[in-house]
Amino acid sequence: MPHWSRVLAGLTTFLLLSATPLAAIAQEGDGESAIEPEALAVIDAMAKKLTEATTFAYKTETSYDVVQDSGIKVEFGGARNSTIQRPDHFRLDSQRRAGAAGIIVFDGKELSAFVPEHKAYATTEFEGDMQEAIDYLVSELRVKAPLAELVSPDVATAIRKDLTRALHLGPAIVAGHDTHHLLLSNDYADFQMWIDEGDEPVMRRIVITYREERGEPQFRAQFVEWDFSPDTKGLFDFEPPEDAERVLFYIPGPEDALDEEDAS
């Protein structure tokens, strides 16, 4: 009988000791799927800053994984300068690591793309606001427009849409800037964002993991510079050089695989 008593006492002690970490794990599990107000507040502050800005520019260094048929992930990337003038002007200057530089300009009436190295440009009439022009670029002309959500007329909604998780992971220093480190998810991807603390809450870094895609490839962007009073004189007036050839926009046929397209 004393033997059974000792066994019972041991079991009770074990259960009591293990209860605390189990509870902590359960709490952590809940936390991982939570929407934290602190995280949303940081997003909203950045969204307010970007939505209220009529003209702004930013420079990014971007990279992304491409999962090959073999399963190997290969990184590509480049640098990009984006200049935005709401509601219907933008200019994107990009330089790929392994490829040509490119310029895309929208002046509210015409959408033009220029590849200086090959002295070729394509242009088409398009009337609409910036969001419509970007949608057209992406869906019809199949040109990549990374982080287009940041120039949306409603940045907060564009980012917060369909979120299933929004966590504030704490402070972090990125490229010398004090930032908030956030972890967000929707049903397709996970995002880590580093957004500056202080009066100018701009994005400093973002990593998107495409969780639902094969090999879970990532897109990464480091924001090198933000400018909220850029000189835009003549920036949106696209004048091709005299010796440049006007070419057509290539619209992929149904047989073209999207994955084969180069990113700009």
């Binding site: 490119g102 990549k144 849409k161 290539y250 073209d256």
Partner: protein
């Protein structure tokens, strides 16, 4: 023996040329590349937050939408025709009266025939007008579609095989354009190409 060697050399040369041309064709078909051929795109290249932008579905833009033309052809005007006849006073009192009545009936029948003839003519004209209207509408619509297509293709090229600028450089073909009208074409070993803007770069797309 000499003839045999000569034939062998000719056959080998022909096979070499055929293989070279086939390789060039295959390069054009698969889009050409540079260095190691590998995929350079994919969902992560989009840098988008949502699936819809990472894997976009093609949609015609608003500028391409043609306003629907609503035509109400109606039923055509049948016109109203009073076929009632005034009831005749059929007095059979005397021959003169009968004669008069006969004459009246003849007049009435003639008048009815004339009316029916006129009505048939009206109906034929109505049908002809309607047919012409339908025909004109169809022509307008076809012209509209044609113009839209023409306009659409003025600055776009749909699908097809292409090769990169790098691959073009490896063909050894000159990049001297041949002007046909206002369009520039590039020729390489009997294949005609156009330069197009594809996803941020220039490629040579096969025209024929």
């Amino acid at each position: 023996m000499k003839v045999y060697h000569s034939r062998l050399v000719t056959t080998l040369a022909a096979a070499f040329v055929a293989l070279f041309l086939f390789a060039q064709y295959a390069e054009a078909r698969r889009g050409g590349g540079g260095g190691h051929r590998m995929s350079r795109g994919g969902p992560a290249a989009s840098g988008s937050f949502n699936r819809s932008a990472a894997r976009p579905q093609r949609s015609r833009s608003s500028s391409q939408n043609r306003a629907g033309t609503t035509r109400n052809y109606g039923a055509g005007s049948a016109g109203s025709r009073d076929l009632s006849k005034a009831a005749g006073n059929r007095s059979t009192g005397n021959n003169e009266q009968r004669q008069s009545d006969r004459q009246d009936r003849n007049d009435q029948r003639q008048s009815d025939r004339d009316d029916r003839y006129d009505q048939r003519q009206d109906n034929i004209q109505d049908r002809q007008d309607l047919a012409k209207e339908v025909h004109d509408d169809r022509q307008d619509f076809a012209k509209e579609v044609h113009n839209d297509r023409k306009e659409w293709y003025e600055d776009r090229w749909r699908g097809g095989s292409y090769m990169s600028v790098y691959a073009w450089g490896n063909t050894g073909c000159a990049a001297n354009p041949v002007l046909i009208g206002a369009d520039r074409y590039y020729e390489c070993r009997g294949v005609r190409y156009r330069r197009v803007y594809r996803g941020g770069d220039v490629v040579y797309v096969v025209v024929n």
